[in-house]
């Protein structure tokens, strides 16, 4: 049936097939062509992502594609709702930006083929394909496979340089991820045993509150939290994200940790929309609050720039989980709940842009200075003004100062917290903002100070790479200009949440 829905549905397949084909192709062609393949795939993938977004935006319906025209429960479905679209476009923009940035760091070798260049470009595309599969996967088992693919692509990125510390970090990351994925699988198995399907839409009709649903959802959520590095499962994140090369850190911190968060959202809002879960949502929020406070305080005490940024990721992940107690609130007015919903998602994407920019800025600074000790940053603001500016713009979003995506996200979370009388979350959001201000200021104050002796840069930093970093940081700032109200796009595919909200 060649109607518009199927024609658009084909795009969903492209969003996965294109990067995966690219990854396989570069594996076959070898390191001398990997970069070229990636540079060909990236614009095409961006076009596909924008096309998916425009179709969903125009038709205002969920884009669906059933593989081989077999409908669930026999077949497997891909679905893109408003939330998926936002994440797909974010991923596409970030991957393209990171790719443009990484060209200087992982260039195509002239003579002998190098391992790191091949591995980086191949895995960049693999991560992209797996992310898209997570964002549009329509059943729990396919999501499991997508999540595993993402882990397998992300873990080697940590240990690209092959040093012992990064190998340990990668191994620890992998063990946490495996622990998470096996718990997720166990939960999915329980769901199948109880309801005979793993398709998210079918499951949401059949599910009812009971021991099975509770056991399954707790197992899956716990597993996903381990992968998302929410406090107290954050142990693996700082060494892994700080040890990786800058472009890889940007992917890991900006995008990869958002995938398990996205699945928790899927589970809680799509799979079980009608099962009351108030206490559990409060618990998720409490873990998020602990992550914000702990991550920010530890970030303040770091001596190395990349570790500081990594601990800041731990804190910013906490904000994402504040969305659960605020959006899952059956008693009070529905229109306020959408503010928390939009705020949470906006936090995910603005953090993605801001953190990617900050990691890459830190990478450039480390390249120029040969180290990333915060105490030794004096004078870098004069030597690399654009890079430090980009770092500051990213920091704006972390602190939640206007204009930035982080400001809009945190303002919406605050609005929701106040409106629902759950003022304690508002206190956490504000405290986290002040602490973030502290650690960003700490870096900027050192970077803008005058050096006691003239600074000599180890290697010149090309303006084009600095421009990419600024562009990504500007994306985070531009998100601050979207209207401060529940987003209509995010409501697509979510009829049970009323549209409307604070002016």
């Amino acid at each position: 049936m060649p109607n518009s829905a199927t024609a658009g549905g084909f795009l969903l397949i492209l969003a996965i097939v294109l990067p995966v084909t690219g990854a396989l192709l570069s594996l076959v062609l070898g390191g001398r062509h990997a970069e070229r393949v990636a540079l060909l795939v990236m614009p095409a993938g961006l076009v596909v992502a924008v096309a998916i977004a425009s179709v969903v935006w125009r038709t205002h319906t969920v884009l669906e594609y059933s593989v081989g025209s077999w409908d669930p429960p026999l077949g497997v479905a891909f679905r893109a709702d408003g939330l998926s679209v936002v994440m797909i476009v974010t991923a596409a923009l970030l991957i393209c930006g990171i790719g443009a940035f990484a060209r200087a760091q992982f260039p195509t070798p002239r003579g002998q083929e190098t391992r790191t260049s091949l591995v980086f470009w191949t895995l960049l595309l693999a991560v992209w394909g797996a992310l898209n599969a997570v964002f549009i996967g329509g059943d729990l088992f396919k999501l499991y496979v997508a999540l595993e693919l993402l882990t397998f692509a992300a873990v080697p990125l940590v240990s690209l340089d092959g040093r012992a510390e990064t190998l340990t970090a990668a191994l620890r990351y992998l063990l946490f991820a495996l622990f998470g994925s096996i718990l997720y699988l166990l939960g999915a198995v329980l769901f199948y045993g109880a309801h005979g399907t793993l398709d998210i839409v079918l499951l949401s009709h059949r599910i009812h509150a009971g021991p099975v649903a509770w056991a399954a959802i707790s197992l899956m959520t716990a597993g996903l939290l381990a992968k998302a590095a929410l406090y107290p499962f954050h142990l693996w994140l700082p060494p892994a994200h700080a040890g990786a090369p800058a472009p890889a850190s940007a992917i890991l911190s900006g995008l990869v940790v958002k995938a398990p968060f996205f699945l928790v959202v899927r589970l809680w809002f799509d799979v079980m929309p009608r099962v009351p879960e108030r206490a559990a949502a409060q618990m998720l929020g409490t873990l998020g609050a602990a992550a914000i406070l702990f991550g920010s305080v530890v970030a303040l005490r770091q001596a190395r720039l990349k570790l500081l940024i990594a601990y800041s990721t731990v804190a910013q992940i906490g904000y994402l989980f504040l969305m659960f107690p605020l959006a899952v609130e059956p008693e009070t007015g529905h229109q306020w709940n959408t503010a928390a919903w939009t705020g949470g998602v906006l936090q995910a994407i603005s953090h993605a842009f801001a953190k990617a920019a900050m990691f890459m800025a830190a990478g450039l600074i480390a390249e120029a200075l040969g180290h990333d000790r915060i105490a030794g940053l004096a004078g870098i603001g004069r030597a690399l003004p654009i890079t430090v500016f980009a770092f500051g713009l990213g920091g704006l979003s972390l602190m939640g100062l206007p204009p930035s995506g982080g400001f809009v996200a945190k303002a919406m979370l605050l609005t929701a917290a106040v409106a629902e009388g759950q003022w304690w979350w508002a206190v956490v959001v504000l405290t986290g903002g002040v602490l973030a201000g502290g650690y960003v200021f700490l870096v900027l104050a050192r970077a803008l100070a005058d050096a006691s002796e003239p600074l000599t840069l180890l290697s010149p930093i090309s303006p084009s790479r600095q421009a990419v970093v600024v562009a990504l940081a500007l994306c985070a700032v531009l998100l601050g200009f979207i209207p401060l109200r529940p987003s209509e796009l995010l409501q697509i595919g979510r009829p049970d949440i009323a549209i409307g909200g604070p002016r």
């Binding site: 499991y144 063990l175 199948y192 793993l198």
Partner: protein, 102 residues
């Protein structure tokens, strides 16, 4: 107690053992083995569910069997990746622990 229940309980026991091993043992290789033990338990549980035929109402539900095969492939790749990382770590440092001294 039915056949499926017995297998289900065995699966649960394997998951419990594996979880214990994963948390208690500090050595990465033991953790990898424990992960495989949990995986075995989950797959056994899924097999028992297939036997119960929860979805279609007949003797053996084919869907879980297909999923178990996929799951085994995924778990195998995960193990391979973990062991490869561990071997590389051993080559670099001469020890296979997560806590490097010196």
């Amino acid at each position: 107690m039915g056949e499926a229940t017995l297998y289900g309980l065995c699966g649960a026991a394997l998951v419990g053992l594996g979880l214990f091993g994963l948390i208690v043992h500090p050595q990465p290789l033991r953790k990898i083995l424990a992960f495989n033990l949990i995986g075995g338990g989950v797959f056994l549980l899924f097999g028992a569910i297939a036997r119960r035929g929860a979805a279609a109402g007949f003797g053996g539900d084919p869907v879980p069997q297909a999923l178990v095969i996929t799951g085994i492939v995924v778990a195998f790749s995960a193990t391979a990746l973990a062991v490869a990382l561990l071997l590389r770590l051993f080559q670099e440092t001469g020890q296979a622990t997560l806590h490097l001294d010196g």
